[in-house]
Amino acid sequence: MLEISNLTKSYGRHLALKDVSFHLEEGEIFGLLGPNGAGKSTLIRIVNQILDQNSGHIKFKGDLFRREHLKNIGYLPEERGLYREMTVENHGIFLGRLRGMNATESRKALDYWLERFDILSWKKKRIEELSKGMAQKIQFIFTVLHEPKLIILDEPFSGFDPLNVELIKAEIQSMKAQGRTIMLSTHNMYSVEEICDRALLLNQGTKILEGRVTELRDEHKTGQYTVRFEGNMIGFVNALWSGFEIMETREFGNNRFEADLAMRGDSSIDNLMSVLIGHVKVEAIFEKLPGMQEVFIQAIQAAQNAEVA
């Protein structure tokens, strides 16, 4: 769907993007991750033709990216902005027309989305009459109004309450089910784990990780296991022999606990099961996978260490 090759962009002496290449597949949710100043916004702006790259190229469905392709993109920037004095309806029609729709099509699409979000009564309201969260929701609608094939969302969940975060997530997944591609730039790693198929991590303008989210987590797993049990913590500790090391414990009340264990030597999950039976009532044992947050931190630290070295 979108192929980015050797993209480089500098602002004066500052190199914002350094030879970045990746691709987006049709119908996937792609996470664009990175600390502040990593070059995510620059990358997104280049894709949206707001900025010109110094070198490299972008292809959309096999063709070199041109301005006409922008009609196929829906872009929600991180810094939200709307004309405060315009009504929701007029604003929607205005943006719809800028993206190639006519007024009737824009109005029809707006009605569809307002009804879908159960906010049809906002149609005649001026933007300044809406709360921040309401305006965010309207802006999301404006982004997808023209049914773009590629949707670029920069921090789409910021400013939303948990209910609306779930609502937007559901919409993103629904659009994915329709075969649309979504590029998501966010610091909310939990969302990335939850909805992204693949992710790319940028640091100081350089790509440091790219892959399927599950694979990235697998690659960064530490071999720890989590045991959830009911019983006595002293009994649990006594049952473990030198082949296991307790890393962290959590108490849930009513003699229910969770412990993260690291295996030593040749210890296996079978060994663990056998030593625990009879001492505590084991509810679950599973391999502890790092969250994207940990993957993110580990990768950034590794990159920084490599740079120092």
């Binding site: 702006r45 707001i50 993109i73 920037p77 709307l82 004309y83 004095e85 800028l98 993206r99």
Partner: protein
């Protein structure tokens, strides 16, 4: 172009729907008409009424002077000689402001004297001269010819001799019409200042509330800038049209209702004169209206409104394009909304200089600097209006085309430069704007 048009329509509808626009559209022309009315009604008049005593011992004038009473002068007649000292000091003559001597010598010498207590205005002077002269003319016609007064009026055609300085044969420096040109120039710069400032504010607001990033996802920076300039310019032109129509209607209403004497005087030639009295009245009215008020004369007769309005629209468009692209570039370059103030002041000063250039051109029409200011796009809108109001010689019309071309080309050039600054500056935030940024962003791609 389609996207620029969509942006322009949004700007247009935002402005014409705003209260400020509606208020300015209504109050603006009303204020201009009120000022014009005050000038028409009081501008050329002396505040006091003049009480004139005519000494006519031979009863030449038969105690008559005007068929109609004059609102500014009241005449009384005395049938004996009055010494100047007596008139000056006697208590019974203290109510009279002036004394006119009419005797047999006046007819033979064609010279008379008017003794005043306080120097009258030129209008009063001319009125007294005209009214006494006309009455004596009637007396002479009656005495020495067999013509009726009506026939005499038909034969007698006034000839206006305009006195011109040989070094200023077009009377440009003294021409009151130049003030009208300057007024037009001033209006152009007021419109430019108002709407270009509105453009600057709107651009910096779009930048600070970040809607610009959403827009730039669909339109090029140049298209956005041009759309905004076009939309706000359309609103300015629309407002100007409202002003033009309202002021024109107001002037017509004034001409036909509040100042009908002037209209009558203009129609003199077509009016069927059916009596001597009527003829006399009309001539008097023609005179009184001619001298009634220099502003009435200036506005209703001497200004060539059609070419002036056409030139006004062209200068407004050219000047607006030129200045608005500058203001737009500043709006796009600011780091915060308040940041632009330091660069707005020089732009406002530039606009003030534009107005001053018009005044300079009026005062020094032949100065070499005026020629430069005429062609300079910063000052052309006001100087062109002044020069146009003063009138061109047939061979000078080319200069109007030339200045139009210069204004158009420099406006396009300014649009291009500002477009580059706009493109490079619109997504830069949080910096403190320096002059160097403009040069840097003009060069950068």
């Amino acid at each position: 172009m389609r996207n620029s048009w969509i942006i322009a329509l949004r700007e247009w509808s935002e402005r014409i729907g705003s209260r400020t626009f509606i208020l300015f559209s209504i109050l603006g022309p009303i204020t201009v008409l009120t000022v014009l009315y005050m000038l028409f009604a009081y501008g050329g008049k002396t505040a006091t009424r003049w009480n004139v005593l005519i000494t006519d011992p031979t009863n030449l004038m038969e105690g008559k002077i005007m068929a109609q009473k004059d609102s500014m002068i009241h005449y009384s007649f005395a049938d004996d000689y009055i010494e100047v000292e007596e008139f000056a000091n006697a208590k019974r003559y203290q109510n009279y402001d002036a004394m006119v001597e009419v005797n047999e010598k006046v007819l033979s010498n064609k010279t008379g004297f008017v003794f005043y207590r306080q120097l009258p205005s030129k209008v009063l002077e001319k009125k007294v001269q005209y009214q006494v002269e006309r009455r004596l003319e009637e007396v002479l016609v009656k005495q020495f010819t067999s013509l009726s007064l009506l026939d005499f009026k038909k034969i007698k055609q006034p000839l206006n001799l305009s006195f011109r300085n040989v070094y200023d044969p077009h009377d440009e420096s003294q021409d009151k019409r130049a003030w009208v040109g300057l007024f037009f120039g001033l209006v152009i710069f007021i419109f430019i200042a108002l709407f270009a400032m509105s453009l600057l504010r709107s651009t910096s607001r779009e930048k600070s509330n970040r809607i610009v990033e959403v827009l730039l996802g669909s339109v090029r920076p140049m298209q956005l800038m041009f759309g905004k300039i076009l939309g706000i310019g359309m609103a300015a032109l629309f407002q100007f049209s409202i002003w033009l129509v309202t002021i024109t209607i107001g002037l017509l209403v004034m001409r036909t209702t509040l100042f009908p004497d002037y209209l009558q005087s203009n129609l003199n030639q077509s009016v069927q004169i059916d009596s001597q009295v009527r003829a006399t009245n009309d001539i008097e009215l023609a005179f009184t209206s001619f001298e009634y008020n220099e502003f009435v004369d200036l506005v209703f007769d001497r200004v060539q409104f059609t070419p002036m309005v056409l030139a006004f629209i062209l200068c407004l468009i050219g000047g607006y394009l030129f200045y608005s692209s500058l203001f737009s570039a500043v709006g796009a370059s600011v780091g915060s909304e308040s940041d632009g103030q330091q660069f707005v002041i020089p732009l406002i000063l530039l606009l003030c200089f534009g107005v001053y250039a018009g005044y300079f051109a009026m005062e020094n029409p032949e100065a070499p600097l005026t020629t430069w200011l005429y062609y300079l796009p910063f000052t052309a809108p006001s100087v062109v209006m002044v020069k146009l109001s003063q009138g061109f010689l047939p061979g000078q019309a080319y200069s109007l085309i030339l200045v139009g071309l210069i204004l158009l080309i420099s406006s396009l050039l300014m649009l291009w430069i500002s477009g580059r600054i706009y493109k490079n500056g619109i997504l830069k935030f949080g910096h403190r704007l320096k002059l160097g940024h403009f040069f840097k962003w003009t060069k950068n791609n």
